[in-house]
Amino acid sequence: MLGSPFFGPTGLLEEFDRLQKQMDSLLSTAWPGLTNIRAGRAGGFPAVNVGATPEEIDVYLFAPGMQPDQFDISIEQNVLTISGERNDPPPENARQYLQERFNGKFSRVITLPDDVDPERVEANYRNGVLHIRLKRQEATRPHQIEVKA
């Protein structure tokens, strides 16, 4: 859907803003969830987007050409690891002009916020995107406190 928060406006000012953010991130301020020593290379395969609501954390892994059972997903001490292998060799007797698509084993590691409940995780694979929904623990969600008269 087009109203996704990942895909913001792209006017000129936004473009400068984007470049500024890119500079910042190169210098020091990468998202801490993906600065883990095992996180893998940003821009490598598969690309990762992360979103959050007060109820959950949503991880999107752009990993086309897989089967749902080919992903190995684990959570240990707040660290989410997704690994797998994409094997798509060229047809036999083919001459190859361009090979940009990733082939082989991959692994991405994402450090999650502390309040994620590792027991309530759902993963869905659709159109080549693995969507992992991690619910936050009930107690830590922001809630309204009623003031009594």
Binding site: S4, D58, R101
Partner: protein, 132 residues
């Protein structure tokens, strides 16, 4: 790591979108092969469904376009994004020996496979050398 920390240091830009007008486009990773039968193009289009995919040939230019749709819960805020656009586009110029009227396209789990056959008359023929 606290969630607040994540809010403060938000997205990091890593994909390399190409700029076309005011719209940022993603160029999909592609493989191109040639067999005796024709040319095979494979393109990674994660998040693109059959309905939002458009493959067209105009004169000799083959264009692949697709729009990403994700299941996004209400009120979600982006925390980190390596994919920062929802549109893919890539074009190729086809040569005369390819038969653009018989292109086959298949989209499966976000991978588009295009099979572009060669015209019958240009398929390579094995020439037998007869002994004198």
């Amino acid at each position: 790591m606290s969630d607040k920390e994540i809010v403060q240091r938000s997205e990091q830009e890593v994909s390399r979108p190409e700029q076309a007008g005011s719209e940022v486009l993603l160029r999909p990773a592609v493989d191109v092969y040639e067999t005796e039968e024709g040319v095979i193009v494979k393109a990674d289009l994660p998040g693109v469904s059959k309905e939002s995919l458009n493959v067209q040939v105009d004169k000799e230019v083959l264009t692949i376009e697709g729009t990403v749709s994700l299941d996004v819960p209400e009120k979600m805020e982006a925390r980190y994004a390596e994919v920062q656009s929802s549109r893919y586009r890539h074009s190729f110029t086809l040569s005369q020996d390819l038969d653009t009227s018989r292109i086959e396209a298949e989209l499966k789990n976000g991978v588009l496979t295009l099979t572009i056959p060669k015209r019958e008359e240009v398929k390579p023929r094995k020439i037998t050398v007869n002994a004198a």
